[in-house]
């Protein structure tokens, strides 16, 4: 009792929400409702809040979740407005004038019970033959998808679909796992089918698997039979809090600044001990305790990389000591190529973080900083409050899990580019080092570009690239002529429109392949004129003449299709100064402020062999 009192006091003494979140995640204290209320009051006093509107559609009692929704919202800095649909009302809320639609939610949470999917689910699944089970499966999936699709027709924000886990173990008991009529297998199949069909056909819709919550805390800690049978409320406090944490955490993914980089300290974070003092054989990293915990943490960091987050190093060390671990330590998992950027020196960490932000062309509000030192953590929190700071736990056994509860490290979708992002940044770092070396060898910039052996692949109207192209319009701020943002649906319309030309490119060189990094959209008019609606390129490939080669290759394609004039514009924003002179430099004639024209009849585009890039066009 005394110990939890102490913990509560430390929570209400925090000075920022990210510090409070980190402290709560690191503590194993189970909060009571009154304690949560005290923390809510404290969190709400810590600065401005963002509005977050949640709609809840439910076939079991949901109002009792509110204290925990409010608690998690307070931690994330949300001013939460919740609308609970009337009990048991579902598809009626998917209509134009429903309470839900009028609430204008950022997120709509569907809390459904399994038995809602089909009347037959009220009876044992095992009474059905495999063929009958298959039929029931298809009917249940169709029912669920049609319900979700009805909501998707309205502006109800991100749809989060959940199914309440089963109150009981499978009807066949222990034998269920062996049976060809297995209940567990039937539900697993349903979830797989439903999620596959949602990804294929419904945008902004996510299935959140509550079975995962149940696995984490156990069935006995999940269900409260008293509240279930007396009030139709299934959850024990721990389950209610965990559900709320996951749901509101998704709110942070859609409403808070996007996290993009995990910056890691090295000593006592990636391994136990200090490399400069303990040496290669002295640091804890390997198959035995405590080194195995650090190996595990490094493996988990690779998982975050797979989610599309960059890893970077920021360590006070001699660079040579650190390099030796990265290159030679037999149990080191993260090697040089896993880090998009690194600062290994004796400068203050806030300065190094700023330098990393410059190098990666990313804002500091996209940084998650992980360090074991209270001093460094405090310095970064104080100097750079926009950086989310996670202190590496002092107990090695807790280290592998220290990022598990950082809401902004969740993702709602993944593109092929996300999966290889760090790799590409690491290649870019090697290119820069290569430039450094070739400079000192007397190789000029031109020669350097030729030595990269660049190959550009241009794809025209490629529907398979839909999600990446939409992502490019959403994320590209600097080299972007018009900064028009398009969702997948809109990009699809451009691609399918015969009077539009959508071109993208990827760039490969001796160091690797960049993935799709450039996009141009032309609209073709009846008078042999083309308007450049959008033209952008990821900063990852800037400085390699790729933007010019791409533009001239496309001008050639347009000329080949009989286009006589190309109109283009530059719409200035706070961030796209980099692209300001691009059109004029390429040979476009300025017509009016920000408007340019290229007359293809009087002026031919440049020959592609004038660029240090081999260009290939796939129609």
């Amino acid at each position: 009792m005394a110990q939890s009192k102490f913990a509560i006091n430390t929570f209400v003494q925090t000075t920022s929400r990210s510090e409070l979140r980190a402290l709560l995640a690191a503590s194993s204290v189970k909060l009571t409702l009154p304690q949560a209320q005290d923390i809510i009051a404290h969190a709400e006093s810590l600065g401005a809040k963002t509005a977050f509107r949640l709609g809840v559609i439910h076939t079991y009692t949901s109002d009792l979740l509110d204290p925990w929704f409010t608690f998690e919202a307070a931690l994330q800095g949300f001013d939460l407005q919740i609308y609970h649909a009337p009990y048991g009302i579902t598809f009626q809320e998917a209509s134009k004038n429903s309470g839900l639609v009028q609430h204008k939610p950022d997120m709509t949470l569907l809390l459904l019970r399994r038995e809602d999917l089909h009347p037959d689910l009220a009876y044992p699944l095992s009474r059905l033959s495999p063929a009958q089970q298959e039929e029931l499966l298809n009917e249940s999936i169709a029912e669920l998808l049609s319900l979700v699709a009805q909501f998707r027709e309205h502006a109800v924000g991100l749809i989060v679909l959940t199914l309440l886990p089963s109150l009981n173990a499978p009807g066949l008991g222990l034998f269920d796992a062996q049976s060809e009529r297995s209940e567990a297998a039937w539900w697993a199949k349903l979830k797989m089918e439903v999620t596959a069909r949602i990804s294929a056909s419904l945008s902004s819709c996510l299935f959140v698997d509550l079975d995962e919550v149940l696995l984490q805390i156990g069935r006995n800690n999940f269900f409260d039979h008293r509240f279930w049978y007396s009030s139709r409320f299934p959850f024990k406090t721990e389950a209610a809090q965990e559900l709320a944490r996951r749901v509101v955490g998704l709110g942070a993914v859609i409403k808070s600044p996007k996290a993009k980089v995990i910056v890691l300290d090295a000593d006592n974070t990636l391994w136990g001990g200090v490399i400069g003092e303990d040496g290669m054989s002295g640091i804890a990293l390997g198959p035995d305790y405590p080194g195995n915990a650090f190996v595990d943490f490094q493996r988990r960091l690779l998982n975050f990389q797979q989610r599309g987050f960059l890893l970077a190093l920021c360590s006070k060390n001699n660079a040579a000591d650190l390099d030796q671990v990265l290159q030679e330590h037999p149990h080191q998992i993260l090697r040089d190529q896993h880090f998009a950027a690194r600062r290994v020196n004796w400068e203050p960490k806030p300065e190094n973080l700023k330098a990393l932000a410059d190098e990666l062309n990313l804002g500091l509000d996209s940084f998650i900083f992980v360090d074991d030192s209270s001093h460094e953590c405090a310095a970064v929190r104080y100097t750079l409050p926009q950086v989310e700071v996670i202190q590496t736990p002092s107990r090695a056994v807790e280290v592998p899990f220290c990022l598990d509860q950082v809401a902004r490290l969740e993702v709602l979708s993944l593109t092929a580019e996300d999966l290889t992002k760090t790799e590409m940044y690491a290649q870019e770092r090697m290119r820069r080092e290569f430039i450094g070396n070739s400079g000192s060898n007397g190789l000029g910039g031109e020669n350097y570009l030729h030595s990269l052996g660049m190959k550009m692949t241009i794809n025209l109207d490629c529907i398979a690239h839909l999600s990446r192209l939409s992502q490019l319009t959403q994320k590209t701020n600097q080299f972007n002529l018009t900064t028009r943002r398009y969702n997948e649906h809109q990009i699809g319309e451009f691609i399918n429109n015969r009077n539009c030309l959508v071109a993208d490119f990827s760039l490969a060189d001796v160091f690797g392949d960049s993935g799709i990094v450039g996009l141009a959209i032309f609209t073709i008019r009846s008078d042999n004129r083309a308007d450049l609606d959008a033209f952008m390129m990821s900063c990852r490939v800037i400085g390699r003449e790729a933007e010019s080669a791409f533009l001239h290759a496309l001008l050639r394609v347009l000329a080949g299709r009989g286009i006589q004039e190309v109109y283009a514009e530059f719409l200035p924003t706070a961030k796209n100064g980099l692209a300001k002179d691009f059109l004029a430099n390429q040979g476009f004639l300025a017509e009016a402020e920000g408007e340019y024209i290229w007359d293809l009849q009087s002026q031919a585009p440049k020959n592609l062999d004038t660029f240090p890039i081999t260009v290939m066009i796939n129609v």
Partner: protein, 79 residues
């Protein structure tokens, strides 16, 4: 802190009622806006967690006033 003061604080923070309004004779009916059926379930959870007790479903309906809750706690050995 006396048991009453602890109870007062739990009711106040769970149901969002100013502590001063909660006396040793208060009951559910005095706070119809906040101590409603949902608030009551929340209060039952909060009582369990604060005092480390386990309530039976049958007890829920009885624990609708400060004096009955205090008596219940006393019967559980909490004074």
């Amino acid at each position: 802190m006396s048991t009453f003061e602890q109870l007062q604080s739990v009711i106040a923070s769970t149901l969002k009622i100013p502590p001063a309004n909660i006396t040793e004779t208060s009951s559910k009916d005095d706070f119809s806006g906040s101590w409603d059926s949902l608030g009551h379930v929340n209060l039952m959870m909060a009582l369990e967690q604060t005092f480390g007790i386990y309530l039976d479903v049958e007890d829920f309906a009885k624990l609708v006033s400060v004096p009955t809750i205090l008596q219940y706690l006393k019967d559980q050995g909490i004074e």
